[in-house]
Amino acid sequence: MKNSFDEKILEEAHDWVKANQKVVLATVIQTWGSSPRQVGSRMIVNEKGDFSGSVSGGCVESAVVRECIGLIKDNKPCKKIEFKVSNESAWEVGLACGGEIAVYLEQVN
């Protein structure tokens, strides 16, 4: 059986919108190999870079925040980004667990 383990993140997104913030939803839409969070996991980001929720175990969130701020600045509706396995010896964003994920960004408008 499956429980929804809903994190009320959309409710929080709505609160942010009501507080006149610009909000981007970032959702895990595909995973390959061992990924930290399952498809449907979500975080929200505002124009200041505040964020809530997660799309990984902290591995790629900083890059997602940057991309989301970019999306708001460029006033684009949506974008798909992919993250692959990281090189542990380099300071780069990636998934140390060896998996790959695709994250979909969309502005609430």
């Binding site: 059986m1 499956k2 429980n3 929804s4 383990f5 809903d6 959309l10 409710e11 997104a13 709505h14 919108v17 939803l25 959702t27 839409i29 595909q30 399952q38 498809v39 449907g40 509706p77 949506c78 798909k80 979909y104 969309e106 502005q107 609430v108 408008n109």
Partner: protein, 226 residues
Amino acid sequence: MKLQTLKSIIEKKKNKSEFAIITNLKTGESEIFEKDKPLSKEMEVYSNQINEFFKSKKNGVIENSEIFVETYILPIKVIIVGAVHIAQYLVDFAKSLNFEISIIDPRGYFASEQRFPDMKIINKWPDEAFKEIDTNENTALIALTHDPKIDDPALQHALKKKFYYIGALGSKKTHENRCQRLKEAGFSDEQIKSIHGPIGIKLGGRSAPEIALSIIAQLVSETYKK
């Protein structure tokens, strides 16, 4: 996503309906899918695949397309009998785990609004209380009073309705006596064995939050076994 779509998703979740969000990843346009309701023309061609995701309660991108399906299912119903100290911690854990809790306790001084703010509390004896809750094999029961007058009727209801998880608080001795009473009431050994008693996984702690943690851990584990 349009703000209007976001608002209706939140509304539907509040109203406890099951639905899916269908997003065209190319355009960012999304719509809400509900069983037996027509899809937009654009999404109609994917109707079979969307229904498949919805039925299996899965999220994902439809193969060879740019369509993402995200399903929203109802939280699992958990009925707690006994508005005791442990129940207060269970309510806290259940919030982040998204179980939908109802508390039954005929003793008004336990089941008070002040002890359980914003909770559905049924201030009646179990036989009466269960008339107000729709239960089935996807429901769980946590019996915490260890008072046979209150726990036993609830356990009997749960066994008859084949709840997927039934747990009862009490020592080994209390549980033995409980099993004996259920046997005398006509329940089979197999049915009685399905009750988790003494309730919870072995953590070692004996404080109320620790017992609540051990119960909720067992509940989550049993949820995934089913």
